[in-house]
């Protein structure tokens, strides 16, 4: 429902090689949104690949680790307590990188009725830009909270109970995840502003 204009299925569609829908291919709007940002998006694609690999490795490792836990408990009656620390460690990396990847794909859970009510493309884009700016401000504030949380844990030198691993390994997932969400939020706003300006120019 919300993927019809700037909020398309993936950032590749929004600001990459594909068009800003429903503006037709080859218009000034597409050129204005994409123009001069090639190197940035080439680097972004590398970043997205790194996120996908991280999620894949962490997710599969999490499943196998938990299955190993069941096997060790029931087949050889010797549970390894470290798994109960390692599994949440892998999980929080899946969670926060997954969240950031959702920001990249513009695929967070959402409801709303904006697209049902507002039909004017410029109004729609302006309201979405407002939403994106508010979201970015909130994510920056939560990033700051998360940073303080990690710094506090670091200052205490906290370690996990069984494996004695530094707690920072867990906390970093939140910092990197929220940091990536700030990056993608800013990128989305940039695309939306350029799209809005170009659409206004086209109408003139």
């Amino acid at each position: 429902m919300t993927k019809e204009l700037l909020h398309t299925d993936s950032l590749d569609d929004v600001v990459g090689a594909e068009a800003v829908r429903p503006v037709p291919q080859g218009t000034k709007v597409v050129a204005a949104v994409h123009g001069g940002l090639g190197p940035l998006f080439a680097a972004e694609r590398g970043l997205a690949l790194a996120m996908r690999v991280t999620m894949f490795v962490a997710m599969i490792a999490l499943g196998l680790l938990m299955a190993a836990q069941v096997f060790m408990r029931y087949a050889i009656s010797s549970p390894f307590l470290g798994i109960e620390e390692l599994a949440p460690l892998l999980a929080v990396w899946v969670y926060f990188i997954g969240m950031a990847y959702c920001s990249r794909e513009r695929d967070h859970i959402e409801g709303g009725m904006l697209t049902l009510v507002v039909k004017n493309p410029r109004t729609l884009m302006a309201v979405r830009l407002f939403g994106s700016v508010v979201v970015l401000i909130a994510v920056v504030i939560f990033f700051w909270f998360a940073w303080n949380f990690m710094a506090f844990n670091y200052s205490l030198g906290r370690k996990s109970t069984y494996m004695r691993l530094p707690k920072v390994l867990w906390d970093m997932s939140m910092i990197i995840g929220l940091g990536l969400m700030v990056f993608y939020g800013a990128l989305q706003i940039l695309a939306e502003i350029r799209g809005l300006i170009a659409l206004k120019g086209d109408e003139k």
Binding site: A67, Q69, A87, Y101, N148, W170
Partner: protein, 431 residues
Amino acid sequence: MIFFLLAITIVIFLLLIEVPVGFAFGIGALVYGYTSGTNISFHAGFGYTQVSAFSLLAIPLFILSGTLMGASGISDRLLNFVNSFVGRTKGGLGAVTVITCALFGAISGSASAAIAAIGKIMVPRMIKEGYPPGHATALIAVSSVLALMIPPSIPMIVFAIAIRESVAKAFLATMGPGIMLAIIYCGLNFFFLRKTTTIQVQPKLPMPETIRQIAITGKQATLAIIMPIIVLGGIYTGIATPTEAGAVALVYTLVVGILIYRTLKFGPLFDSTVEAARLTGAIIMVLFFLFVMSRGMVLAKVPTHFADLLLSISDNRIVILLLINVLLLLMGMIIDDVSGSILAAIILLPVTQKIGLDPIHFAAIVGTNLGLGNISPPCAPLLYMAGGVTRQPLSEYIGPTMKFLVLGHLPMVFLVTFIPELSLFLPGLLD
């Protein structure tokens, strides 16, 4: 309370302009903290601690095993199996859609995955055989909710953790109503199509041939049908916790997909795993910000004030239950099922405790209501997704959908609310 109402108003406004649910609650928490003078900076740590809980690991594991089962081509095998029973009767394909959604829910627990996997195959097939397109789209939308009610159900995992109750019991609370709803939808499907003359039904096979078809398709689908038995059997015999059962389901899926079906190559495995991680991230983000906001609400005693407010309207149990249903329905119409279950747990639990409602019965009421909300306009994510998959305009399927909801799901909500045995019988077997 006034600051909370202000925050909630802002949250609703942001939801309506299609700000993602998680962010809307995050902003609500910030507004609440700023206006009430509450220091919420440490709440980020609280939200983080809550989402990193060991018990929540069941969510990524069930999502991944469900996604991988879908990528293994399981939906085709399930469809063929169910189709061999009722596919050659008038309205039979509709019944196949409903039953396969229920079975798919027992494997994946995801309503959107059911729409994508079953809808893409069944809706074109139904339309080709003369089903009204609006009926076909409405049927896949309403049937997808069965995946939320039949375990493993992600909203029920979250809800049980939030109210500190057994996940296994919460799973079973919505299972009975889910099965009953599947039967009702099958019946309504046949009833609505009784006068439709456009449907072409494939000629009936002789009984021996029908039995042979059931045996062949059943053999092909056996490994898929066994999976929920292993998972639920493991949980309810006490051999595995829901989290461990999720891990067993994942390993089983990998073995079946890679070694037995041989349909799960590295490319689909990689893509499906990334997709599962993305879905998990989307759900956990909502939970993270909801936990942050809920912490502020609990500290401000908002749930207690809300309970007092409801009880000031009436102390009659039936009236309170009706009010709870209305609130849950409205909640489900605005937000997704996972957020709804957390909010219901936080805001409505005190009032249910005051009227002596069994928490597992409350779980069933929440699960059944939020499913209804997710397909009720104006904000009906599952309904619109079904329309997107089948490429039908809303005007085409909104009428048939409302008929299914009013004659099927709504009565089920009332049955679950006022006949506790419907939802408490199966969980009671665990005691």
